[in-house]
Structure formats: structure tokens, C-alpha cells
């Protein structure tokens, strides 16, 4: 009996590790295939964004005839959670778990929220639109159920993306971070493009049953992809699990994060640039259609031009950053390219030059790609190892909020101009030119802000006695540390650790 037991035990021990979701701690460097797998969580994020902002937006207005203002309100709801990203990231930084995991529990919970939101969403939307017997039900049932569904998906997306990016940052060396950032952006973009095409194709012949199947299918795909992405990624850390640490409160961690460093300046730059590039997102297509008389197919190709410019931008940024250039310089070039891009777009309307407009759009995409890549890499680099989640949460909070405000503001400004007295006597571009000009101004402000930030960095590295390497803008970053974070001694990050507990 005893021998049977020991045989069984050794058999199980032999096969078990393959079937357990734990990473092999002894892995030397994280191979690209594993990073590719991890980046699948960005595909689900992209899918959720497309479903909320694109597909369901249209389905609710056209097929379900829900009032447009109610639809806009519902779609804006997930934005409520964006500022909480910093807090979510902070919570994952200090998470104590017997398994020594910090990121996996949060990504899993975020996935569950996203799944739950999508699972009830089609029914909530059908009730909201008064489908069959729901027409007799009290309106608050549909409204609150739809609001809950959108809130769940929003909370899930914010959690998954914040903590997922933190996990990616944990896994790779500082010099490899540009590669990861590029990969994450490309996967987000590919996820959005692919799911837009697939949802569009699936919902061609709309029926309520089909809506239920598509949205719930998205829920299942979300869980499946996130499980695949998460499998064996985060190493278990018994030392961390057993360590008794006193963690700073959120406000203290935040003060530590912004103290004497350029974190706030970087966040301002991100807000300015994201708003500068983001406002045009929903206006380029109607501008092309109304001002330049492009067909629907042509304006759809315009979105492809914008995305293609972004992809080129990510590729160039990855290449340049891996060569050791400063991420802020890349972001600076991105914002700078955006200025002539929007000048071209503004000029193309009155001159009726379609080619000018297309070139301007491509450059706007290129600039946005460079800017996004540069600022996210800068955020990753400037984050102390113990505060990676907080730093990426702050990045996500600012980025998502700025992008949401930009899209809303762009639409509101255009509609306000169109409702002015004698608006029908305006030239067709009159509603768009002020918005594009505002974007141009925001990008100029971002260029100036990055310049000021670089000056401040130079001053800081002079006055403080820290030795700041060429590509490490932050004195606390440890670019020269040859030990991967997973294999540091159990004392763990002695420098940061002391700073955290000193509070």
C-alpha cells in the first residue's frame, strides 16, 4: 500500500507542474512566445472597447431604438472607474497572498467582472429597449441592469489592463520594456480591428437571439483568452508570502510616488498628448464624409490609414527605444509630428485636397503611436519595482480619462457649433476646424511640457547625488541591476523596501 502511494505520489509530482498555473521561477529570460501569450489580455480589452463603443453603440441606437442620450450615458459609465486604476494598481502592489501572487488574483477578478458584465448585457439591453413583455416592465429595471452591465465590463477592463501591464513590467528587464510596450499596443490594436470586423460580420442580419449569442460569446472568449494569457506567467514567491510587511496607505504610497520626481509632469504630458490625439478619433470619418465628400467605404479605409500609421509608429518607437534612446524624446517627436499632421487635416478641407487629408491622417496615427509608446515606456522605466502597479495605474487613469474626455469634448464642441444660430450658412468644415485647432494647441502644449520635463530631469540628476544613466530618466529606477526581479534575494528590493517601510 505504501509503495502504491509513493508511486502515485511520484507520478503526480511528475505530471502536476505542467497542469498548474504557476510559472517556473528559474526561467532565465522570458521568451517572446510567452510575452505574446501574455499580450492576449490586450486582445480582450480591445474586444470589450470595440463592443462597447462601436458595435453596441450602433445596435442600441439603430436596432433597439434606445434614445441616443441614454446610449451615450451608458457608454460613458465605464469611464467612472478610470481614476480608480491608480488604486487598483496600488492594491496589486501590496497584495498579500499565500501563493506569493500579486497580479494574478486581480487579473482573474477583473476577468470575472468583464465576463459577468457581458453575460447579462444582452438581456439588459433587450429589457432596456422594451423587447416583448419588457415593454410593460418598469423602465428602471432595464436602465439599472444595463448600467450594471456596463459598469461591470468597465471595471473589469480597467482592472485587467492595469494589472496585466504591471505583470508584463514585472516579468521583463528594463531594457526589454520597449519591446513589451510595442507588443501590448499592437495586440490592443489588432484585437480592436479583428473584433470590429468579426462583430460587424456576425451582426449583419440582426436578431435578438443573435445579439445574445454574440455578446455572450464575447464573454466566453474573454475568459478563455485571459486564462491562456495568465497561465504560468507570474512566478510564485514563497518569500514574499511569508514576509510580514507593513504597507503604506494609498495616500502615502502616492506621495512617495510623486515626491521629488517627475511623475506628475509625465502625467500632465500624457493627459495633454492623449487629448490632443484623441479628439479626432470619432471626427475624422464624418469630416472626410461631410467636408471632402468621401464615400462610406473611403472613410472606413481612413480608419485603416490611422491604425496603419499607429502600427508604423509603434514599430519605429520599439526599434529606437531598444537602441537606447530616451522614451521621452520619442514621445516628443510623436507630439511634434502631430502638429503638422493636424495642420494638414485643417488645411485639406478648404482646399478640397483629399490626398492632403489622408497624409495628415497617416501622420496623426504615426505621431499618436510614437507618443503612446514613448510615454508608456517612460512610465514603466520611472516606476520603482515596488510601485509598478501604482505607476501603471496612474498612467491608465490619466490616459483613459483623457481619451474619454477628448472623444466626448470633440463631439460636444462640434454639435455646439452646429446648433449655433445660422449654423446652416457656415461652410461644412466650420464645425470641425475649431476642434482640430484645439488638438493642435494641445499637442503644442505637450511638446512644451515634455521639453520642460526634460529640463527638470536634467536639473534633478545634477542636484541630487544620484547617478542617472542616459536612458534611465528616474533616479530610483535600477537599470543596471542585473538580477531579474523574480530572483532577487528574499529581502527583496532593499532600496525600495526601506523607503516604503520608513513611512
Amino acid at each position: 500500500m505504501a509503495s502504491l502511494r509513493s508511486t502515485a505520489l511520484s507520478k503526480i509530482q511528475g505530471i502536476a507542474p505542467r497542469f498548474l498555473p504557476f510559472a517556473d521561477v528559474a526561467t532565465e529570460a522570458v521568451p517572446l512566445s510567452r510575452l505574446l501569450r501574455l499580450s492576449l489580455f490586450q486582445v480582450t480589452v480591445g474586444m470589450a472597447l470595440v463592443l462597447l463603443v462601436g458595435t453596441l453603440n450602433r445596435v442600441m441606437i439603430v436596432e433597439l431604438s434606445v434614445p441616443a442620450s441614454l446610449v451615450a450615458l451608458m457608454i460613458a459609465l465605464p469611464l467612472v472607474f478610470a481614476p480608480f486604476r491608480a488604486f487598483i494598481g496600488y492594491k496589486s502592489d501590496i497584495h498579500t497572498s499565500a501563493l506569493g501572487w500579486r497580479r494574478v488574483p486581480y487579473i482573474w477578478k477583473g476577468t470575472m467582472l468583464q465576463f459577468g458584465g457581458f453575460a447579462i448585457m444582452p438581456f439588459a439591453l433587450l429589457v432596456l429597449s422594451g423587447y416583448r413583455e419588457a415593454a410593460d416592465a418598469a423602465p428602471w429595471i432595464g436602465q439599472s441592469a444595463a448600467a450594471l452591465a456596463f459598469l461591470l465590463v468597465g471595471a473589469g477592463v480597467h482592472t485587467v489592463q492595469t494589472v496585466g501591464l504591471a505583470l508584463a513590467t514585472d516579468l521583463v528587464e528594463v531594457e526589454d520594456q520597449p519591446k513589451v510596450v510595442g507588443l501590448m499596443y499592437v495586440m490592443l490594436l489588432l484585437g480592436m480591428i479583428a473584433s470590429a470586423l468579426i462583430f460587424g460580420w456576425l451582426l449583419q442580419d440582426y436578431t435578438p437571439g443573435r445579439l445574445i449569442r454574440v455578446v455572450q460569446g464575447a464573454a466566453v472568449v474573454t475568459v478563455a483568452l485571459n486564462l491562456i494569457a495568465l497561465w504560468k506567467q507570474e512566478p510564485r514567491d514563497r518569500a514574499r508570502a511569508n514576509r510580514v510587511e507593513t504597507h503604506p496607505e494609498f495616500i502615502d504610497a502616492w506621495r512617495l510616488f510623486v515626491r521629488g520626481r517627475t511623475a506628475v509632469g509625465l502625467l500632465i504630458v500624457i493627459a495633454l498628448g492623449t487629448m490632443g490625439f484623441g479628439m479626432a478619433d470619432v471626427l475624422l470619418e464624418p469630416y472626410g464624409g461631410q467636408v471632402l465628400d468621401l464615400s462610406v467605404a473611403a472613410t472606413t479605409r481612413l480608419t485603416a490609414v490611422l491604425a496603419g500609421g499607429g502600427l508604423v509608429g509603434f514599430a519605429i518607437a520599439s526599434k529606437v527605444l531598444l537602441d537606447g534612446h530616451d522614451p521621452l524624446d520619442v514621445a516628443w517627436w510623436g507630439a511634434l509630428i502631430g502638429v503638422p499632421a493636424f495642420a494638414l487635416i485643417i488645411g485639406s478641407g478648404p482646399m478640397g485636397e483629399t490626398s492632403m487629408f489622408v497624409i495628415g491622417t497617416a501622420f496623426a496615427g504615426l505621431g499618436a503611436g510614437l507618443f503612446g509608446h514613448g510615454t508608456l515606456t517612460a512610465t514603466m522605466r520611472s516606476a520603482p519595482r515596488a510601485q509598478v502597479g501604482l505607476a501603471l495605474g496612474a498612467w491608465g487613469a490619466v490616459q483613459a480619462t483623457a481619451a474619454g474626455i477628448a472623444v466626448a469634448l470633440g463631439g460636444i464642441l462640434r454639435d455646439m457649433i452646429l446648433t449655433l444660430p445660422n449654423a446652416d450658412t457656415f461652410r461644412p468644415e466650420a464645425a470641425y476646424t475649431p476642434v482640430f485647432t484645439l488638438e493642435l494647441a494641445l499637442l503644442l502644449a505637450a511638446v512644451v511640457a515634455i521639453f520642460a520635463l526634460r529640463r527638470k530631469q536634467a536639473r534633478l540628476s545634477q542636484t541630487m547625488s544620484y547617478t542617472c544613466s542616459k536612458d534611465g530618466p528616474d533616479p530610483y529606477a535600477v537599470p543596471s541591476d542585473p538580477t531579474p526581479p523574480d530572483r532577487r534575494p528574499s529581502g527583496g528590493e532593499p532600496h525600495d523596501h526601506r523607503r516604503l517601510t520608513a513611512l
Binding site: L126, V127, E133
Partner: protein
């Protein structure tokens, strides 16, 4: 490793670790149940199947 008295046979997890894994399962089931209940209520509002 194997002579650790805290280990739970046969997974090699300690009791605390096993409890944590279990807590994910329990939480997941609860969330799943609540979502399913809500979905059923919503379906019943639009297409009632009980009378």
C-alpha cells in the same frame, strides 16, 4: 520539501496555499451564481416562462 508537515498531499501546496486556491473557486462560483440569477431575472422580464 516532501517532509514538510504543513504540506497537503498530493498537490504539494501548503494548507494556506490550498485554502487560497479554494477561495478563488468559491468566489468564482458565487459571482457566477449571482450573474446567472440576474440573467434569468432579466430574461423572465422580457420573455416570461412561468405563467
Amino acid at each position: 520539501m516532501s517532509d514538510d508537515p504543513d504540506k497537503v498531499w498530493p498537490t504539494g501546496l501548503t494548507l494556506k496555499e490550498a485554502e487560497e486556491v479554494h477561495s478563488y473557486l468559491i468566489d468564482g462560483t458565487r459571482v457566477f451564481g449571482a450573474i446567472a440569477l440576474l440573467a434569468h431575472v432579466l430574461v423572465a422580464v422580457s420573455t416570461p416562462w412561468l405563467g
